[in-house]
């Protein structure tokens, strides 16, 4: 599998602030869903902005789909990446839903007739076509995030970065958005990076990268990472629900060969326990 994003020995700090990344390296595989987790202030959002060239690197190199992130390539790179940010309010540029979806297309000087077609298609994909005339004040946070996703779909990128995109939504809105992104990822063969502190969001990923204080603590499949509850706790994260349940069962003398299972496998295992005994 190709490494669609390669981060090579990068270092970075904000002016007058301590160093955030020191010689950090990581890769993102094409077509995978990668979750980057860590507590607030661990530098994960900065990482997303560096990949998109929104902040300038001090040293090291980032390569996105064979292009080095630098001033010359920046617009080509932004064509390849769609970002959904944390605050639904602060990424809604247009006066109405359709104007907002069109914003990115206008920036790329797409001809008008084509724009109308793309906007309609994109809004239908996220189920917001009926809301096209609405102004942002009359939308919920989840609906605004949907519009943001439509704005990204309209530009047909190769990579979607969710930068804490669900952290301001209620649990239901959160799941809705994740399901939607998953569907869009499958339909369009995209790579997804989700930056989050929601452990259950990360549990659904193909690969998890744990970041703490600007360096990578661990990088592996969710199964291997979520087994070590005490380690997660030590860097301010909670354990996924399923790990907590396995622990609680262990305390009651039900021994498990596993530390972590995803929802489906845990359900299957419990079912087996209940029916065989």
């Amino acid at each position: 599998m190709k490494d669609i994003i390669q981060i090579k020995n990068i270092s970075f700090n904000y002016p007058d602030q301590p160093i955030l990344f020191n010689n950090l390296s990581m890769n993102v595989h094409e077509g995978e869903w990668t979750a980057i987790i860590g507590q607030n202030g661990s530098g994960k959002s900065t990482l997303a902005r560096l990949i998109d060239g929104l902040i300038v690197l001090k040293s090291g190199q980032i390569v996105v789909d064979d292009l080095v992130v630098n001033d010359d390539n920046i617009f080509d790179i932004r064509n390849k990446i769609g970002m959904v940010f944390q605050n639904p309010e602060d990424q809604f540029v247009g006066a109405t839903v359709e104007d907002d979806v069109a914003f990115g297309l206008e920036n790329r000087q797409v001809p008008r007739e084509q724009m109308h077609e793309i906007v309609e298609k994109s809004l239908k994909q996220v189920g917001m076509w009926e809301f096209r005339d609405r102004i942002p004040a009359n939308l919920s946070g989840g609906q605004k995030q949907r519009v943001a996703i439509a704005g990204i779909v309209a530009l047909s990128p190769k990579i979607i970065i969710l930068d804490e995109a669900t952290s301001m939504l209620d649990p239901r809105g959160r799941q809705d958005i994740l399901d939607l992104v998953y569907k869009i990822k499958q339909d369009n063969h995209l790579t997804v990076i989700s930056i989050t502190h929601d452990i259950d969001e990360a549990a659904g990923a193909d690969r998890v990268i744990v970041v703490n204080k600007g360096s990578i603590v661990e990088e592996d499949k969710p199964d291997n990472i979520f087994g070590d509850i005490s380690k997660l706790k030590s860097i301010g994260l909670s354990a996924p629900f399923t790990s907590q349940l396995i622990m609680a069962l262990k305390k009651r003398g039900i021994d498990s060969p596993y530390q972590y299972l995803n929802d489906k496998r845990l359900i299957a295992w419990i079912k087996k326990l209940v029916s065989t005994k």
Binding site: Q39, Q86, R172, G236, K271, V274, K277
Partner: protein, 292 residues
């Protein structure tokens, strides 16, 4: 004097006398016991915020009376009397760090007490106490609140409310946007205020896990009415009803319904992981008995 909060047939109409008139509260009657930890839940637009804003009289009812610790609020109560009431009801809004404005942390926290007539010395005393309470280091007192981290700013804002020594504390989604660690700290603070300082806590939230972990009472709002009021286990006993209200079950309940759907015969909806584990163990061991 009666130490409780009671609503008697309270109706609140937005934009009364216009074609847009809308009942945000519709004949709400309820009682919140002193020193309870009450969660108010309901989907967006169900009237939760309107409800709590009546408790500290930011909104006045269109009809009906409210009594808060013996102080009456009716549609005709004058603003002067309302201010006295607000002193006793602290309100922490969503993203409270957005209300900070003073040049130093200590001044911002002193702002509330001073508005209610405390002397500089008294206000400072309460502010210092409040800083300690929320776990802010004393060395931060003269810093600009705008130089702090997001989590610290939120605590300054909460300290600003606590410095007024309210008897009732209303928290509107106090943990929105925080990571798990910050979340737990704020919720533990609320619990500490309830347990050790006898405060009545009213929590508006979407997080059902917090409801079962912290609240003793739950009020469910739907379309401007109170549709259920009870303990967490009473509220979540009927998953179908919970879903009908566009609400979620706590994680354990959610997981349990999936287990049931997969054919694991759990008997009742567990509220916590411990409950769920107990039930599973019970099933497994129950199975042992029949096998023997």
């Amino acid at each position: 004097m009666d130490q409780e909060i009671s609503f008697n047939q309270v109706t609140h109409t937005y934009q009364a006398d216009t074609p847009f008139a809308q009942n945000a509260l519709d004949k709400v009657s309820l009682k919140i016991a002193p020193n309870s930890f009450t969660a108010i839940i309901g989907h967006t637009g169900s009237g939760k915020s309107t409800l709590v804003q009546h408790i500290n009289a930011l909104l006045k009812s269109t009809f009906g009376e409210i009594e808060v610790y013996g102080r009456q609020i009716t549609p005709s109560t004058t603003n002067k009397n309302l201010k006295q009431l607000r002193k006793h009801v602290g309100m922490v809004f969503q993203f409270p760090e957005k209300q900070l404005f003073e040049e130093s942390v200590i001044k911002d926290i002193m702002f509330g007490p001073k508005n209610y007539g405390a002397s500089d010395a008294d206000a400072e005393k309460s502010a210092v106490k409040a800083m300690k309470l929320v776990g802010l280091d004393a060395s931060l007192r003269d810093q600009s609140p705008f130089d702090l981290s997001g989590g610290q700013m939120r605590r300054v804002a909460i300290a600003g409310v606590l410095a007024m020594n309210p008897e009732i504390l209303i928290l509107d989604e106090p943990t929105a946007g925080l990571d798990p660690h910050g979340h737990k700290e704020i919720m533990d603070l609320a619990q500490g205020l309830h347990d050790h300082r006898n405060m009545t806590i009213i929590l508006v939230t979407h997080q059902m896990d917090d409801v079962v972990d912290y609240a003793s009472d739950v009020i469910v709002m739907d379309r401007g009415q109170v549709v259920k009021h009870g303990t967490p286990s009473q509220i979540f006993a009927d998953p179908k009803w919970v879903y009908k209200m566009h609400l979620d079950l706590p994680s354990s309940g959610e997981f349990a319904t999936r287990l049931i759907r997969a054919g694991v015969p759990l008997e009742k909806t567990p509220l916590t992981i411990e409950n769920l584990a107990d039930e599973i163990v019970h099933l497994i061991q129950g199975g042992n008995h029949t096998d023997e």
